[in-house]
Symmetry: C2
Amino acid sequence: MSDRASLKKIRIILVEPAGALNVGSAARILKNMGLQQLVLVNPQCDPASEDARRMAVHGADVLAAAQQVQSLPEALQGCQRAVATTARDRHLPTALEPPQTVLPWLLESNGPSALIFGSEERGLSNQELNYAQRFLGIPASSEYPSLNLAQAVAVCAYELFQLAQTSLPSATPPTADEAPLDQLEAYYQHLETLLSKIGYLHPHTAAARMQKFRRLFNRAGLSDGEVAMLRGILRQVEWAIAARE
Amino acid sequence: MSDRASLKKIRIILVEPAGALNVGSAARILKNMGLQQLVLVNPQCDPASEDARRMAVHGADVLAAAQQVQSLPEALQGCQRAVATTARDRHLPTALEPPQTVLPWLLESNGPSALIFGSEERGLSNQELNYAQRFLGIPASSEYPSLNLAQAVAVCAYELFQLAQTSLPSATPPTADEAPLDQLEAYYQHLETLLSKIGYLHPHTAAARMQKFRRLFNRAGLSDGEVAMLRGILRQVEWAIAARE
C-alpha cells in the first residue's frame, strides 16, 4: 500500500545533468507532484544559476535543498531500492518496465528508494545501470523514443503522484528483511576484493565480470540475512587462505 | 476503440505561448509520443528561434510544421471535439477531469480533435475555455498545482500515447452525427446576433450570458441534426420578426 507520505521517501537522482534549465524544471515538477528529494551527481551545470531558478519557480525550495554528491553510490546511500531509467534496452538483465509496473515497487519500499536519470547526452553508463535493481523505460514512439531529461522526470513524477493516490495490491510486498543497497554494495566490494586477491578477477576483465555478479544478485532481491551469509562465505575463504599462507 | 493512427488526428494547441524553450520542448515530446500536429495561436515568441530548435532536437520537423494562427477559433477549425487544460476550477460547467478520463474521448473522435493549453502566465481565459466541451486538470499537489507548460504537454502527450496503445471500452462512443465545432460555433454566433437584435442581450452582459449558453450546449453534446434544428428555430424567429416589421 502506498500513500502520499511514501512520495517523500523517494530520491530523484540526476547523474551529471548538463542543463540548468532541466535541473530547474525537474525541481518544479517534483514540487508539483509532492516529491521533495532531488539529488545531483556531479552536476555539469550550476543549480543555483538564474536559468535553474527561473524554471523552478515555486519549486525553488526543492532546488535549493537539492543535495550535490560526487558519485552515484554516494547518492544511493541509505536506499533500499533503486530503479534506473533508460531509453535503450542495452543487454539489461531484465526487460525494461513501464512506469506503472515498476514505480509501485519504489513506493512500497520500507526505506528510502531512488529513481535514477542519466545525463542528457549519454544517459546512464553500464556501470551506473549496475547500481539499480530494476529498469524503467518510458513507452514512446519507436521513431524517436528519447525524451528530454526534464520531460522524462515529469512523466515519472506524474506517475508516482498518481500511484501514491491509490492503494495498489502489491505484486512484490516489501519484506521486513530486504537488504538495503549499502549492504549489497559492501558485499560487492568485498567480493571484488577477494576475487581479485585469489586471481579470479583480472584487471582488464574485472569490471565486466563484476557487472554480471551485481546484476545476478540485484535480480535475486537479497535479504539482509542472505547478504550476511554471503559475506560469511567470503570471510571464511579469507580465513582459509590466511591459514595456508 | 483507439489506436496509434488516432494520435495523428489530434491537434495540440498552445495559446499565446511566451517561451520559445517551451514551444521547442513541446515539439519534441509530441514527436516522442507519435503526435504530429502543433498549432500556435498568436505566439509571443519565435518558434523558429535557436532556443526553440535547440529544445526540439529531432522533433524539429514537428516544430517546423507547426501552424500559426491568430485566434483560437481559427485553430479549432474543422475539429469535432475540444478539451481545454486548466489548473484552476474556475466556475467550470463540469468538473475538471483527469487525463485518463477525458483523453480517450479525444482519441475516439470521428474527426480531428484538439487539446488546448493556455499561456505560461495566465492560462486560458474564460472566453477561451468556452470553446472547449470538456476540461482537463492534471492531478498535482495542492501545495503547488501549476505545471510548467512544456511539462503539462509532456504529461498529456504521454497519456495519449499510452491510451492509444490500448483499446478502451468507451463510455462515450462517437456518434456518426456528432456536430463539428464549426457548426456549433456558427450556431452560437447566430444565436448571439439574434438575441442582441431582439434586446435579450445587452452589450455589458452579453458575453457572460452567451458563456452560459455555450457551456450548456457544449455539455449536451449536440448532434448535427440538433444544431440544424436549433438554427431552424432561430431562422423562424427571424422570419416572424421580419413579418411584423
